[in-house]
Symmetry: D2
Subunit: 184 residues, 4 copies
């Protein structure tokens, strides 16, 4: 069987890196979709896991990262999708949400078989995380209106790769439900 979890990738950001401007425009468009997913997942009682860079600060934890992101240049992009009291949180150091993190262990303990991916960056962390989920035999759904890119051309091909080579389903957020592994 297995249940479905929502994975929110790198959305707690201070947007200070060099490609931030292109990314911010895309994030702004993805926010409503992420909001919809959060509503669906929270309503269904499904696990919501924020997986986020630690910005090289290995003391960093949810409170500290969230505070920095809210106080950053684009706190308005963070506030609407901020974690609630039930949210789970995993710190990552590199691109993929699975690399040297306890995420696979956590999903195993929660008996999760299907992950819904949203967040940033479509042609980077989202692509790599879809691969690492597929390689671990998890079912992958990508919420196409809830992922943000830097390079629109690469992002389009990244989505095609996820669909054709990683067996990912591409779906709009409003159609994605969290009631069970077979829902969609």
């Amino acid at each position: 069987m297995g249940s479905t979890a929502l994975i929110v990738i790198d959305m707690l950001s201070t947007y200070e890196h060099e490609d931030a401007d292109a990314l911010v425009r895309s994030v702004r468009k993805a926010l409503p979709g992420i909001g919809t997913l959060l509503e669906h997942a929270r309503g269904a009682g499904a696990p919501v896991v924020y997986v986020n860079d630690n910005f090289g600060r290995w003391r960093s934890h949810l409170g500290e990262i969230l505070e920095a992101a809210l106080a950053g240049r684009h706190g308005d992009l963070v506030e609407p999708i901020a974690p609630d009291d039930q949210a789970l949180f995993v710190v990552k150091a590199r691109h993929s949400v699975f690399y040297e993190t306890p995420l696979a262990y956590l999903l195993g303990q929660l008996d999760v078989q299907r992950v819904v991916l949203c967040g940033q960056v479509t042609e980077q962390c989202v692509l790599y995380s879809a691969l690492d989920a597929h390689i671990r035999h998890l079912d992958v759904v990508v919420a196409v209106d809830a992922v943000a890119h830097i390079d629109a051309g690469l992002a389009d091909v990244a989505l095609r790769m996820m669909e054709s080579n990683m067996s990912a389903q591409l779906r709009p957020s409003r159609e994605i439900t969290f009631e069970g592994a077979t829902a969609g």
Copy 2:
């Protein structure tokens, strides 16, 4: 070359598990040794990494875990060895400090070649962590007066195993320095 890091294992505890009483007696004896190690490591500017169970709460972070431990039955065992502002922090889910955690990655980034282990439980997490450090080709030092056990007999044999089969050095805390990989 590589530097030396101090690894403080599972010392942020609420001591609510069933073997807590035997453990608490041993922890009380280990506290001065851990204090000495913290003083040496902090004085030398060496990395100090607290690796700690998350008690099944995947939101848990340094602040939350520390607060719970300080407010627990034996806050007096936590307060003297609490992390300072420079301390690094890694959450673990299972016995070994390396299993499904970013510790190996973090130590690699810090160019650490030698780890000094202290904390609890000698015949369990400390033993397993010594093995997992040795298997990763790290040099292991165990601070014999700064580790706490539940079963004294098993702990003695665990220390012998670390020395004979994992190439670990067994040393008293006062003799352990952190100035470089070859110091000791």
Copy 3:
């Protein structure tokens, strides 16, 4: 549910390392037990996985390792427990059968939930492999008459550790069956 697999640890050996003499005496006593386990597992159609050091030769594979072991000083210790045509084979580089090997992935694909450990060395690879199986939530059975040691005292305590701290069942080979996860 999950099925049961027999894991044969490091039995394809040329016995050229320095502790070989003490080990060989113990291996000789363990051979009948390993034979019984092989008979039970093969009879039940259960997976039998030989996990073996590669002796630093990364070209090494089953044929090459087996040939070297059979031609070594103690080919008589290898011949009775040699892999048959159905045996699976995993090369390891370090102590634990799980460290940087595909064993966990392979067991997952085979839906194995319970592993029966036999082979060498009780207080080293067998102990470490029992830990790494337990940490991965596998059920562990150690065939007490089918494991070989170098140091009898450490081996006895290692078995106690596996039982008390790693939830391992200690059983004689003749009582271990492979018909299902709950058998024993």
Copy 4:
């Protein structure tokens, strides 16, 4: 410092999967480039590691896989790039050459800092392996005339992704040397 290794991906194939025809045409074009790389690497005494699917046969080893590939539909695509006596060999079960394999450990033991990737499939295993090498802080070179694709459009974008997002160098085989980490 660190040295350079040649990684030959999935070239020992029976070409029986469904996309084989498109792939075979591309492999034929990539063969001379792979030959050049093998010549350069062997001439420099650099490690050459064949990493190959095991086709679900966990007994499979170099001899068995090579034999099946040579006897397959396109043995002529295997013979010119077959491993020599010095070649190293790692079996993989899934897409990336690093996932659940000992490759990272092996490269660490050989002090390899830079990997040259060739083989198949550009927009799949080569892309994923480039990512997994980059995430492990290895320097990546992709031999653009020595990789084979199924979908030319996806392959082109995959190469752009490796260059822009994984810091990979794209080079023709004839310009790639193996004398040291800084050569190229």
